[in-house]
Every structure is written in C-alpha cells, then in structure tokens.
C-alpha cells in the first residue's frame, strides 16, 4: 500500500517534469526559431546617413523591410571586388523574378576616392539592381564598426594606397538581423541556396 503510494507520487513528479520539459523544449526550439537568442541586436538597423550612387541621401530604413546582401569594397580593387560584384549579378539573374525581394548594396570603404560619379558608373557596369553607397569617411567607418565589418587603408610606395577589407558578402533579414555571409570560396549553388533561404 505504502509502496504504491510512493510510486504514485513519484509518477506525479515525473509527469510534472515531463510537462516542464515539454514547455521548455517548446520555448527553446519553437520560439528561438523565430529569432535566435544569439542574434542579439539587429545591427543592420543601426542608424546611418550616406549617399547612394544617384547622389540621394540614404539611411538604414531604405534597406529594411526587405532582406539585403551587402558587400564592402572599393573601385580601385583589381580582382576581389569586381569579381564579387559580377558574381552578385549572376546570383540575381539566377534568382529570376525573386531578385526583387532582395536589396543588394555595395558600400565603398574608400569614400575619399569613390565619389558618387565614380560609384554610379562602376555599379551600373555590373548590375542596375545593385545600389552603390558612399559618403563621409566617418559615417562609413561608423557603419562598418556597427556591423563588424573591417577595413583599413594600407599605404603603397609613391604616396598611393590600397584598402584591406572584409571579403564576404553579409546578409541581413528584413528587420535588420544578421543572417549570415556569402563566401567567395563556396560554390555558387551554395550561395544561391543561402539567398533563397534569406528571401523565403
């Protein structure tokens, strides 16, 4: 009698634990799927004021409401930047009509040389759908810091300089949450799959 009473209590405790576990599991799997805990702040919604390739002022809100893909480079870059932009154009073509669901932005990390005029011709050469962004060096630096993007001016012989910069394309969702990166080393199909997941 006594023994079965204890068992009964144990069973109640166990069922209670199962219920707690079930609630916890729901919380940790279902809720975070919407917005994972380690995503932290939506750093792609951090305020900025820069200029697009048509000379118009742009802010963070111009690129929210739709997912976006961002590349940070400079026009006097002989290889990595033109290749990345050409590949972004190919990816937009591969997305077909779905390309409209994505903002693609090229931010100059060399705004001193990359004026609005330079950016306009440069970006148009690759794809009319890519938005070129430049502006005050301080504003670009602040944006890069907020987004964990690295760039630095490297002096060359004869007073010239080149730029070191983050090579990946960064992805953000419509609310400005970081969504991952596109890496030039990974197959184009992988990058296309990531973009499809982003705009779904």
């Amino acid at each position: 009698m006594k023994k079965s009473g204890i068992l009964h209590n144990v069973r109640i405790v166990l069922w209670a634990l199962v219920a707690v576990a079930a609630v916890a599991a729901t919380y940790f799997t279902v809720v975070p799927r919407e917005r994972s805990l380690d995503q932290g702040v939506a750093f792609y919604s951090t305020p900025f004021k820069l200029t697009n390739h048509d000379g118009a002022e742009v802010t963070q809100s111009d690129f929210l409401g739709k997912p976006s893909a961002w590349f940070y480079g400079f026009t006097q870059c002989p290889e990595v930047c033109p290749t990345t932009l050409a590949e972004m154009s190919q990816l937009l073509d591969a997305l077909g009509p779905d390309a409209d669901k994505l903002n693609v932005v090229f931010v100059s990390v060399d705004p001193e040389r990359d004026t609005v005029e330079v950016m306009k011709d440069y970006v148009a050469y690759f794809d009319q759908r890519i938005v070129g962004v430049t502006g005050e060096l301080e504003a670009v630096s602040a944006m890069a810091t907020a987004r964990y993007v690295y760039f630095e001016k490297i002096p060359l012989d004869g007073g010239d300089y080149t730029m070191e910069h983050s090579a990946n394309v960064q992805l953000a969702d419509a609310d400005g949450y970081f969504f991952g990166t596109l890496d030039g080393e990974e197959p184009v199909e992988t990058r296309l799959a990531k973009l499809r997941r982003l705009i779904e």
């Binding site: 002989p78 290889e79 033109p82 290749t83 440069y122 060359l156 070191e164 197959p187």
Partner: protein
Amino acid sequence: MKRLLAILAIAMASPLAAGAHDFTSGTMYIDHPMIQEAPPGARVLGGYVTLHNQGAEDDRLVGIETPAAEKVELHRSTVTDGIARMQPMTDGLPLPAGEIVWLGDNGTHAMFVQPDKRYAAGDELPATLIFEKAGRIDITFKVEERSTDLAPGHGEHPQ
C-alpha cells in the same frame, strides 16, 4: 593549378583567344598576355600572362613597363580569414628553369595603375616585360571580357 586548367579551358573556348597570341625571345616563351576589362571609373587594370622559361637557368620577372599607364606593379591578392588584401611582390615572380608559371595563379597579377584611357574588350596595350636574365621583351596585352574565375578566393568551384 586547377585554376590554371580552368583558365586554359576558358581561353581555348573563347573566340577572342582563337588567334594565337604569344611571343618568344631567346628561351623565354610568353603566352596570352591579357588584361581583364575594367568597369568604368576603375583606375586600375589587372593583367595576366603565362611565362615558360625554356632555358637552363632560373629567371625572374622583375617588372613591367607601359606607355599606357602611370605605372605597373606586380601584386598578389589574398583572402585570408575573410579579409581581402593586396601586397606588392617585392622580389618579382620567380621563373624556375623549364617551368611554366602563370602570372594570375594564387592571386598574382600585374596592376596597371591610372591607365591613359578606359580600355574595353578588344583593345590592346603595348608593354615591356623586364626579366632578370632574359632582359626586356616587348609584347602586347589584349583586353578581354571580364571572367569571374580570376580573383583569389573565387573560381575554385568544384564543378
């Protein structure tokens, strides 16, 4: 190497490359010097060339001169830990005896700084390659349409 093969395959399929475009001086064989068409506004051009040192002695490409740009520098672009960088090849490009070396492999390139005009596919640029032992050899770079297979960290697609 994989990339070199890919480039060769593209080069052979490309109608632009159909006419042989090579130079020989002594034991130095210079094949397919080309420049990628640059976007408007870009004040740099990337140049590439295959060099076959058929001599018995090691040689070295130490520089390139052209009347068509302010200067030409030998560089290597790299992408390491997600950072794109470009460094001068201060010792030039080594050309071991008997070997075929592609300026273009591993991010190496000739950077034409401040060309005198915009160069589009089909244009040509005269240039002089300067070798440690083979001396100065006059050649012509042909401008070709941009391919996405040249940049470091790109084009190694397993296909």
